[in-house]
């Protein structure tokens, strides 16, 4: 009975979404307050039914109702209760429902926190969000119904894919989707502004905090995914340029460009059309990612079971949403460049370079991801360009970003003083050079890439610290750091931390596949690894071979590690690596195959600084959230106040 109610709730949600995307927009066009007033109740009603449907599916997993086909396919009796929650979004149908749930949460939040904004604009914003919701609900109901019955009920289900049975997976998809879907808000604001012809910069200020929060969550989602790939997939890497990773990375790159271009448009009025376009791009790439992942047009480790109807449906929806919005853009985007004039040496120019680099990088990733299809089309066959392509082009595009980023905060709007900026940054440059030389002297065999990592980290890190110190010295107490500025400092500092992780880990990691006899000791990366044997252990829904490996540095016992090889009840195998983490070094041990006579294959990695990669992501996350909390975004202000004094440090200090 309950699953049918769930399906019923989805249909009601669809009807309300249809109301939400038509009547308010119509009302805003005709100036009819009654129709405009429909928007918020429709949002609330739709959310209630979506939450109900999601709750019912979760309940089916918790009570193990194997008469629901989706539940039977993705869980079984021995699955512990805490993994029944992520099992809800462990496959296509449920993750789509999660997508819709998160879209509804965003929409409710927008509806609730925007009471001070013009009603007509909000009617359009909520209408656009309703249209997106409408499309996804229709998609779920027509092609991917999670409540489909399998009667008679199965006595037991198959298993949740064991690589998904991990605490990281409880958080990874919801965070990623929160980011992905969150760009729909900036998108809705942009479309609403285009529809209403209100192309002043007010909409940008209202859209900014939402964009920052979405970007922060996407950063967290990607960081969690990378961390999960590192310690669950057991390949020891942290990024694979897999099509699905790329699908989440492209919106991130464009989103990064967007939050910077929004800042310019809001404060200076420049780049208006460009900000509109980026708002459309960021969400379009989220939709495109959804298409790539779920249509089966590309293959990936994240494969979702694909059904040709699904691919066609999403493609049509993608065509309507993105094609339609780009047409609206072509028709209504501001014809003349607005905003205050700026010189070549100015913060605007630097942010333009930032935008250019990030958009080019996104285009590069898109090209590489679609390459197999392009190959088909040109008749040269389906070929993948992998890390050899991305790993070469991407760093080249990011090099100017790393070199120029410290200048950003020191350059003034409109007209920068090169000499002043240079004097402020000279200590950072000297520090970066000194640190690199010191590193080269202490580690004479350090590879060039690791030294470049040291240089880049100190250049970016010291550059942003120099800026923070200058604000501390020159601005009066209490007005030193606005949340927006603090967010920028945190995120840029995060980039410095991230660069240290990427470049030093990439250059100095040691990876070995070794055969160990019982009680044999071998040396890897200056550490002694002693293998003392393998024992059988039993978990809640698996049996495992558990190895024991003692790690010594000289005579000192560093740690004892217990990597496992699990056999799940669904006959699926999963290797669980044992990791001794540290700020400066990870020791990573995974159990391979038995080699006979109690000997085992063991994979050992020693990865210096690898955690800095994810630590950098966390800094960026907190940066995004902090910036979104800026008071300026909350209060309703006249347009004249848009140029906040605190945002222009040089003026304050003058």
């Amino acid at each position: 009975m309950l699953p049918e109610l769930g399906q019923f709730a989805l249909i009601l949600a669809l009807l309300l979404a249809a109301v939400q995307c038509t009547l308010p927009i119509w009302g805003a066009w005709r100036g009819n307050p009654a129709l405009i007033g429909v928007a918020r109740p429709a949002v609330a009603g739709q959310a209630v039914f979506v939450v109900l449907a999601f709750g019912i599916l979760t309940w089916a997993f918790l009570t193990q109702d194997f008469s629901v086909a989706y539940v039977a396919q993705n869980s079984n009796l021995s699955l512990p209760w805490y993994y029944r929650f992520p099992a809800v979004w462990g496959a296509h149908e449920g993750s789509l429902l999660l997508w819709i749930l998160i879209l509804n949460i965003w929409t409710v939040a927008v509806a609730a926190f925007s009471r001070h904004l013009p009603e007509a604009l909000m009617a359009r914003v909520l209408g656009v969000l309703g249209f997106i919701s409408c499309g996804f609900l229709l998609f779920t109901i027509l092609t991917s119904n999670p409540f489909l019955r399998h009667l008679p009920a199965l006595p037991d289900g198959s298993d949740l894919n064991p690589i998904l049975q991990d605490p990281g997976l409880i958080m990874h998809p919801p965070m990623l989707y929160t980011g992905y879907v969150g760009f729909s808000v900036a998108f809705a604001f942009a479309i609403a502004a285009l529809l209403g012809g209100e192309l002043d910069v007010a909409w940008v200020r209202w859209a900014r905090p939402w964009t920052n929060v979405a970007w922060a969550f996407l950063t967290l989602g990607i960081t969690l995914g990378s961390w999960w790939a590192y310690y669950v997939l057991g390949w020891g890497g942290w990024w694979f340029w897999d099509p699905v990773e790329n699908a989440s990375f492209m919106p991130w790159l464009v989103g990064t460009a967007l939050i910077h271009s929004q800042a310019v448009t809001e404060k200076r009025g420049s780049f208006r059309a460009w900000t509109l376009l980026l708002s459309i791009f960021a969400f379009s790439l989220s939709l495109l990612g959804t298409f790539l992942v779920r249509s089966g047009v590309l293959t990936s480790v994240h494969a979702f079971a694909s059904d040709p109807r699904r691919g066609i449906f999403i493609l049509v929806f993608l065509g309507i949403v993105v094609g339609g919005s780009l047409l609206i853009y072509a028709l209504r985007a501001p014809k003349v460049a607005g905003g205050k004039a700026f010189r070549l040496l100015s913060r605007e120019t630097l942010l333009l370079v930032n935008n250019l680099m990030f958009v080019c990088a996104a285009a590069m990733v898109l090209l590489g991801t679609l390459y197999p299809i392009i190959g088909d089309m040109l008749g040269v066959g389906r070929i993948s360009v992998g890390p050899p392509y991305f790993g070469f082009v991407f760093p080249l595009l990011m090099l100017p970003v790393v070199l120029l980023i410290p200048f950003g905060p020191f350059f003034r709007w409109a007209m920068a003083d090169w000499g002043a900026a240079w004097r402020s940054l000279r200590p950072a440059l000297i520090l970066a050079l000194a640190a690199t030389i010191a590193a080269a002297l202490v580690f004479p065999h350090a590879p060039l890439r690791a030294l470049m990592g040291v240089a880049a980290t100190f250049w970016v890190g010291a550059g942003i610290v120099a800026y923070a110190l200058r604000r501390w010295r020159e601005a009066p107490a209490g007005r030193r750091y606005t949340p927006e500025m603090l967010g920028m400092i945190l995120a840029h500092f995060g980039l410095a931390v991230f660069l240290a992780g990427v470049l030093i880990t990439g250059a100095t990691s040691v990876e070995r596949d070794l055969g160990f006899a019982s009680n044999q000791t071998q040396q890897v990366g200056g550490l002694d690894f002693r293998f003392t044997g393998v024992a059988r252990v039993k978990g809640p829904n698996y049996l495992a071979d558990q190895g024991t490996i003692e790690v010594r540095d000289g005579d000192r016992l560093v740690t004892t590690l217990h990597p496992q090889k699990r056999q799940y009840s669904g006959q699926q195998m999963q290797s669980i690596a044992a990791i001794r983490g540290g700020v400066f070094r990870d020791i990573y041990v995974a159990l391979g195959d038995p080699l006979g006579n109690d000997a085992w294959g063991v994979r050992i990695y020693v990865k210096p600084f690898v955690r800095w990669i994810w630590a950098g992501g966390l800094f960026m996350l907190f940066g995004g959230l902090t910036a979104a909390a800026d008071r300026r975004f909350r209060a309703k202000r006249a347009e004249a106040d848009a140029v906040a004094p605190a945002a222009v440090p040089a003026q304050v200090s003058a």
């Binding site: 897999d242 089966g296 047009v297 028709l331 008749g379 993948s384």
Partner: protein, 182 residues
């Protein structure tokens, strides 16, 4: 409306056309055979180390006498993962030895990849810097070359091998080699 404002829409329309093509192609087509300048020419010279014993190497000369298949793969290559089960099934049925060319890859990553998915190859050569790949005119992975006993390239397949393409093209090409032999 200026043309410049329409450019994003036009770009997007091109991408959609590409994706429509991709979807249709997936359902209707199979890998198509592409003529290569190497066909019926001697395979390029090479001497490459073995994946599982880097102290040993194999050169083109040592392979003369019997036909062999060269399959270009990399652990980073997603399409290769698609092709892999097909190779696992067909490797022993080809009737000629299957040599893997581990292209632009980290040898340890390749070993892990093979440990995880299985090793269909009789011999695996390592081409980390991709130089042999350039000599063979490799576009991307996977690609497969059929070389006869005289060291002449007889057939080339770009993209993943599928049961259909093997039945339609590769198996007949191998069979032709057999009939030529006295």
């Amino acid at each position: 409306m200026s043309l410049g404002r329409l450019l994003p829409f036009i770009g997007f329309a091109l991408i959609v056309a590409l994706l429509v093509f991709g979807l249709r192609w997936n359902r209707t087509h199979d890998m198509n055979w592409v003529p290569s300048p190497l066909i019926n020419k001697p395979a390029p010279e090479f001497t490459l180390p073995l994946l599982y014993d880097s102290t040993k190497s194999v050169s083109r000369k040592e392979l003369l006498g019997k036909p062999w298949l060269l399959n270009v793969f990399g652990s980073w290559c997603v399409t290769c993962q698609d092709e892999h089960p097909v190779l696992m099934t067909y490797a022993k049925k080809f009737g000629v030895q299957l040599i893997g060319l581990n292209w632009k890859d980290d040898p340890d990553a390749a070993k892990r990849w093979l440990a995880q998915f299985g090793n269909p190859y009789d011999t695996i050569l390592v081409d980390t810097d991709g130089k042999a790949g350039i000599d063979f005119g490799v576009y991307g992975a996977p690609e497969t070359f059929l070389v006869d006993g005289q060291g002449v390239v007889r057939y080339k397949h770009i993209g993943n091998l599928t049961p259909e393409s093997i039945a339609r093209e590769l198996d007949p090409a191998i069979a032709r080699l057999r009939t030529e032999r006295p």
